[in-house]
């Protein structure tokens, strides 16, 4: 087993979460904040503005007129959606690269993350009156730990594969066994370092163990299901394959059966076709 501190230390190698984005998200979380405040925070970051305009005008948001400024974007979309867009444009820098250990080509992990976000939305629409506020962000970031763990998975892949092929361990459990830490745990540490809200940190940490969260946490089990469904479709799955556990309890908790899964998969397809602009950020 390798020294876990070596893995956690490599978090330091990740670029810091951009300060300007952190401040923008903070402003968007504040119901009292004005449009001018947000504009003043992000106006000097051309990549944020460019991404906002590109995504606002994409088919996914389906706005009736063209958005030409950040201010217009905010007025037309509202805080929650603008937050998603700013975040997506930022995390793509981390999730867009290829990974060797997990054998994901450039853009694959990003595609997986966006697909999970879309599934999260579809599931939430089905289950709740209002989408949990952190859900989309948590879905987008759930596998951020893979970016850090990748080099270690690469180095010890044969051991991981051998353990998983015996049939007792999921890929995540094998990571824990061989590397001493799994991608969900390390991802939660990254999110913590980036000062993300506690519910997002929790959803990342527990996205393979949804039965161990309290009943008031609805974000984690939805992220779990969204990830599993994305894995069904093989989107950005790579070497870890379908070696993850199906937890029936989550389905029972939300009153979902096999036909519901098929329904959700079917509805995903059209939504996913609308987010090609988001995928094109890589």
């Amino acid at each position: 087993m390798i020294d876990v501190s070596r893995v956690t230390k490599s978090i330091e190698g990740l670029p810091p979460f951009p300060d300007v984005v952190g401040r923008a998200l903070h402003v968007l979380d504040d119901p009292q904040a004005s449009v001018s405040e947000l504009v003043s925070v992000v106006q000097y970051d051309p990549s944020i503005t460019a991404n906002v305009l590109k995504l606002c005008n994409s088919a996914y948001y389906g706005l009736s007129r063209e958005v030409r400024s950040l201010r217009e974007g905010l007025v037309l979309l509202g805080n929650a959606q603008l937050k998603d867009i700013i975040l997506a444009g930022t995390v793509v820098k981390y999730l867009g690269k290829g990974t060797n250990g997990y054998d994901l080509a450039k853009g694959e992990l990003w595609k997986h993350s966006v697909a999970t976000g879309i599934f999260g939305r579809i599931i939430a629409k089905r289950l709740f009156e209002k989408e949990p506020p952190s859900l989309f962000t948590a879905c987008l970031l759930h596998d951020i730990g893979k970016v850090v763990l990748d080099a270690f998975v690469d180095a010890d892949f044969e051991q991981l594969r051998d353990l998983v092929s015996k049939g007792e361990h999921s890929f995540l459990e094998a990571e824990k066994e061989i590397l001493g830490i799994d991608h969900a745990e390390i991802g939660a540490e990254v999110a913590q370092k980036w000062d993300f809200p506690a519910e997002i940190v929790q959803a990342i940490r527990m996205h393979h163990r949804p039965m161990d969260v309290s009943s008031d946490d609805v974000t984690t089990p939805v992220v779990y299901l969204a990830n599993i469904f994305t894995v069904f479709l093989g989107i950005g799955v790579g070497r870890s394959g379908l070696f993850c556990r199906g937890h029936e309890d989550v389905m029972i908790r939300f009153g979902l059966d096999g036909k519901d899964i098929q329904d959700l998969l079917m509805n995903f397809y059209d939504e996913f076709n609308k987010v090609q602009d988001m995928l094109g950020l890589v």
Partner: protein, 159 residues
């Protein structure tokens, strides 16, 4: 030249330079058919077993479902000169997550739907690599009919 078959998609070709490829077969099924005399190949990547789940969707996106996609794949090949009796049929995918209860078992249902349709229509499967917990990519060379797979954790092989 690679011709990509997306999720819920189908492609057929008689161009000897074409290689049909479908990525990301998890619980979905990839079906490759080939007539070695007419040198016509086709590939379908379907997600779900039955179009009766939503008949409107089945009309709009027939390649999403086994029962609406498979007949269209064969018919599209016949239009290019392929004949049923010569068709070589290869199947990959239908994986599942680790789920002893079977509640998440879309992969098995997808494969069962295919078997049922083939049984009714007297179609035999020549080769298959289905089930398990892996993720697969499938290629079909239109010049030779060779089908290659990339299987997560196992590497490349010829089917």
């Amino acid at each position: 030249m690679n011709v990509v078959v997306g999720i819920a998609d189908m492609k057929v070709s008689n161009d000897p330079g074409a290689i049909l490829v479908t990525h990301s077969l998890g619980s979905c099924i990839g079906l490759a058919v080939y007539d070695p005399v007419a040198k016509v190949g086709g590939m379908l990547h379907y997600m779900l077993p039955e179009g009766s789940l939503d008949s409107q969707k089945a009309r709009e996106r027939p390649f999403m479902f086994a029962d609406t996609g498979i007949p269209r794949l064969f018919k599209a090949c016949y239009q290019l000169g392929a004949e049923k009796k010569r068709m070589i049929v290869k199947v990959a995918g239908g994986s599942q997550v680790m789920d002893p209860t079977g509640r998440f078992n879309i992969g098995k249902r997808n494969y069962a739907a295919l078997r049922k349709i083939f049984w009714k229509n007297n179609v035999l499967i020549d080769r298959e690599d289905v089930g398990g917990n892996c993720n697969r990519t499938m290629w079909l060379r239109v010049d030779s009919g060779e089908v290659r797979l990339k299987i997560s954790g196992r590497g490349y092989c010829t089917l």
